[in-house]
């Protein structure tokens, strides 16, 4: 589709703010996603990134991803939460939805000292703004010494226009975004 109603482009500006956007109606698409207890999870199927978003992703990868391993190039449809909880079919944005899934799907936060396993989740959060990101642990790599605990490597989709990368659990871009973040491991495994 070309420009939204060409006659608008000849006017200085629309009398009603966002009139051009309102004329499109609703273009949001979602699918049925439910928690294990059957509660609905709000979601949005995101559009594919355009050239501009792909260029941005490559610049961010260059900036932050020196040690990241690419799994998949920039793509749309899902974000980090959609990756781990909706099988890459849609994006889940709301913090309340994340909390609901953790609760209804019987996730538990691992206590310090309990080693995460592949398939567990790592959730990054900031004390002021809440959730920042969720990724899935893919493997545990050896630490510096034999006595060191093993280091989780995480599969992440940073946002709904980025690609997927494998990265060290602490090798994340939130420091540079001025967050004081912490990370937590969550598992659907019962207490071992």
């Amino acid at each position: 589709m070309g420009k939204i109603l060409d006659n608008f482009s000849t006017r200085e500006h629309s009398e009603v703010m966002f009139e051009e956007a309102q004329l499109l109606g609703s273009t949001e698409r979602s699918i049925v996603v439910q928690t294990r207890r059957g509660r609905e999870v709000k979601n949005l199927i995101e559009l594919e990134p355009g050239e501009r978003e792909q260029r941005k992703y490559e610049r961010l990868f260059k900036q932050y991803g020196r040690y990241w391993v690419r799994r998949k190039p920039a793509s749309g449809v899902y974000n980090c939460a959609g990756h781990v909880w909706a099988s890459r079919r849609t994006a889940i944005f709301e913090e309340s939805a994340w909390e609901m899934i953790l609760q209804d799907d019987a996730y538990r936060k691992l206590p310090s000292g309990e080693q995460p396993m592949p398939g567990d989740l790592v959730i990054y959060r900031d004390s002021n703004v809440g959730f920042l990101h969720v990724g899935m642990i893919l493997e545990l790599r050896s630490g510096i010494t034999q006595e060191s605990s093993r280091i989780p490597w995480v599969l992440s989709k940073w946002d709904s226009t980025s690609g997927e990368v494998l990265h060290h659990v602490q090798d994340v871009p939130f420091n540079q975004q001025h967050f004081t973040f912490l990370w937590e491991y969550w598992s659907d495994r019962s207490v071992s």
């Binding site: 703010m17 499109l24 559009l47 355009g50 900031d126």
Partner: protein
């Protein structure tokens, strides 16, 4: 003050400086910390950016809106939403209300940031019941 700061919001350099698109509450805070949003907030407060300028800017952005494609200026609108969050200008209320009620996949970022800004603006107005400035905003169903 001219329109250059507003125009800067459209740049890829600005988008890269903001980084990856975080969940709306976190993105709102990231945007609020940018030099550009802070400059626009100040310019709005001092009258260097007027309602007319905001309307023209938004109108110019929307000329690039195409159905079925990500809106290239989505982040610019999100940044403007944060800058307008606590502005007493009528255009701020109109901007946040109208943007937050859209249901467009093309503009998913700015719509959700605007909803977040509205939540905080409502909280602010509730804490300033005595104010006579037009801060008060009906809480809209944005679910």
């Amino acid at each position: 003050m001219d329109l250059r700061t507003l125009e800067w919001l459209k740049s890829e350099d600005f988008a890269v400086s903001v980084g990856f698109l975080l969940p709306p509450p976190a993105l709102r805070r990231t945007l609020a910390a940018t030099r550009e949003v802070q400059e626009i907030t100040r310019a709005l407060a001092e009258g260097d950016i007027t309602e007319e300028m905001i309307r023209k800017f938004v109108s110019s952005l929307l000329s690039d809106l195409h159905k079925g494609e990500r809106f290239p200026h989505d982040l610019a609108l999100a940044a403007l939403a944060v800058a307008l969050e606590n502005s007493p200008l009528n255009v701020a209320v109109e901007f946040l209300r109208d943007l937050s009620t859209l249901q467009l996949a093309e503009m998913s970022v700015s719509i959700r940031v605007a909803r977040e800004c509205l939540k905080h603006r409502v909280v602010l107005s509730n804490n300033h019941q005595d104010e006579k400035t037009p801060r008060t905003l009906e809480k809209t169903d944005i679910s």
